[in-house]
Symmetry: C2
Subunit: 197 residues, 2 copies
């Protein structure tokens, strides 16, 4: 039977996304088996993240200084801005090692039913960047779902007023995926987005 | 892209059992979105568990005082001891609300290949309890795997010297399970353990 403080720790783990009651119990019991140094290191990491991580004043990405590593990197191409839903999405894009431009973190997608109207997103700061900086292209990299598409459309309309190229990342059959099992919407998109070889 | 302190928190989550790199990243990003109070509460819960949880002097279960809630509960039947591998196993047994005896936590199963010999387990304290207290039955509730069966056999041999009943929880087709898909060992056990209706 779990003691009161153990019960409390299980509750805390249970509050984290994707951690059910059973996983939370397993994690809490694991903490009990960790030594003092390990627990302290974990606690320090939790504290640190809250005290040292803020948002980049340019793009809204998480950063430990006023401007994030990408925005302050002189090698990155400031003429290209890739718009993402949140900081998390930057990780897979960076992993490709193919993109050398900068980012802009919207902090969500337009979803009026959930109360996320355009004014709740970092759209104003994006327009300011485009207006002030020497931007040539804005790549919209949002999930190809209803909210993502709506947001992309909304942004495109706003960005049209500037003399820049607005693009959207391709969507279609995923690499290694199977046409046989792909849904109609994906196949339609793959057909529409076909490129010459 | 993840900052250094975020990277460190991801590493810490990644160290927990069953948390892969991607889940760890999701959890760390979630912590960033938690407010100060929530993070502090989480940290307090982690600290508390390490400072206030010790082991029950009677049964070895986690406890916040010298003796655990179950051992110090006057209503629990001290004449029956249920032997479990670790404290975690007590939770599902308690959930049944069917068992009113006490427990004894072995802290593992005999596994000589992994260096877990009988002297590493809380077997001595179990024998002492049986010798000193007025015990009538010891129920062995260990996983029905190789180590569990070995440990059960070993304990049965030792407990035979006392004038008590030694039982083992039943194993067989799980409730809602399917005979068609059950493995031979489980079916064999289910047949052997058949009861009259």
């Amino acid at each position: 039977m779990a003691t009161k403080s153990l019960e409390r720790l299980i509750d805390e783990f249970n509050r984290l996304p994707g951690i059910g009651r059973k996983s939370a119990a397993r994690l809490a019991f694991h903490v009990l088996e960790m030594n003092e140094i390990q627990v302290d290191r974990f606690i320090e990491a939790l504290k640190d993240v809250k005290t040292s991580v803020k948002k980049c004043k340019t793009c809204g990405n998480f950063s430990e200084s006023d401007y994030c590593e990408i925005c302050s990197d002189p090698i990155r191409d400031k003429k290209i801005i890739c718009v993402v839903e949140d900081s998390r999405d930057i990780i897979p894009l960076e992993k490709t090692n193919k993109y050398r431009g900068t980012y802009h973190v919207l902090n969500g997608k337009i979803a009026p039913l959930n109360g996320i109207t355009p004014d709740k997103l970092n759209i104003k700061s994006l327009l300011e960047r485009v207006a002030k900086e020497d931007v040539e292209e804005v790549i919209i990299a949002l999930d190809p779902d209803l909210e993502g598409e709506t947001t992309a459309l909304y942004l495109t309309k706003l960005l049209k007023h500037f003399d820049i190229k607005v693009t959207k990342i391709a969507s279609g059959i995923p690499m290694g995926g199977n046409i046989e099992y792909a849904d109609t919407a994906t196949i339609t998109r793959a057909l529409e987005g076909r490129t010459e070889i």
